[in-house]
């Protein structure tokens, strides 16, 4: 399956949906910082992997799919929920790469320059996510 960009999909979202994501992301970051300040890095660190993007993305995917079906005259459809489930499956693969990001940061941050470690861990997350997605596709075809 070919990976492609679809910039038209940005038009489906209203500006307040982007604002909601921005505020939600900012709020989680602040809460994670405050928790780390009060309860220490062990508890605060858990919130670095808080699902901040996924709930809003899955909700919007379902909403846009439902609206598309309604425009086509189909009132009741489960396509939106199935599309959100597909999104969740991709996210599950991404979480494995997220754990690898954390492992690299945990092991290497005390010894090397933080900027390079964070950039390297981000690239690892991206490469591993794509590799896991491709592997899943390969296994599904056999």
């Amino acid at each position: 399956m070919v990976i492609r960009f679809d910039p038209q999909s940005l038009k489906q979202s209203a500006w307040h949906e982007y604002l909601t994501r921005f505020v939600l992301g900012g709020a989680v970051s602040v809460i994670a910082g405050l928790i780390a300040e009060h309860y220490g890095p062990a508890i605060g660190g858990l919130f670095l992997a808080f699902p901040a993007i996924f709930p809003a993305s899955a909700t919007l995917i379902e909403k846009h799919q439902r609206e598309r079906k309604q425009r086509a005259g189909i009132e009741h459809s489960i396509r939106g929920r199935l599309a959100a489930a597909l999104d969740a499956r991709g996210t599950a693969l991404g979480t494995m790469a997220l754990a690898a990001f954390a492992l690299v940061a945990w092991q290497l941050l005390p010894h090397y320059n933080a900027a390079w470690i964070l950039i390297g861990a981000l690239l690892l997350w991206l490469v591993l996510s794509v590799a896991l997605w491709r592997l899943r596709k390969l296994l599904a075809h056999h």
């Binding site: 990976i3 982007y18 992301g25 890095p41 605060g44 499956r89 754990a99 940061a105 941050l109």
Partner: protein, 124 residues
């Protein structure tokens, strides 16, 4: 205990504002990338992008040093495993039971918390 002086309150507010804007910006950027990518299963990878982690770890390194940030990253691994459990359950409920996405994803957030804190208690 001395009351915090105006300077330290100002410093804390500035730090929180920077945290808010950086975290919000990274979450927004990764969400937008996920929005424009197809197929949907691939775009879903970006639902687990390290947006909060990048902003928080970068600011923690600047404020408290690399060793402290590494301790946060260690716990983040447990948070990521909890996120894996949470997203698998969300996927199953939406695909098999056809539950609505907002109900499922928001309703199951306590599951993420329960998994994360249980894992932390187990490794401590």
């Amino acid at each position: 205990m001395h009351p915090p002086c105006a300077g330290s309150i100002y410093h804390t507010c500035v730090q929180l504002l920077i945290r808010f804007f950086l975290g919000g910006l990274l979450v927004l950027v990764f969400s937008l990338i996920g929005d424009v990518l197809r197929p949907k299963g691939f775009a879903g990878l970006f639902g687990a992008a390290p947006s909060i982690a990048l902003s928080t770890l970068a600011l923690t390194v600047a404020e408290k040093g690399n060793a402290y940030a590494a301790l946060e990253a260690r716990s983040m691994m447990l948070g990521a495993i909890a996120f894996l459990c949470y997203s698998i359950v969300c996927c199953l409920l939406m695909a098999k039971r056809h539950l609505r996405a907002p109900v499922t994803t928001l309703g199951l957030l306590p599951l993420w918390g329960a998994c994360a804190f249980t894992l932390l208690a187990l490794v401590r």
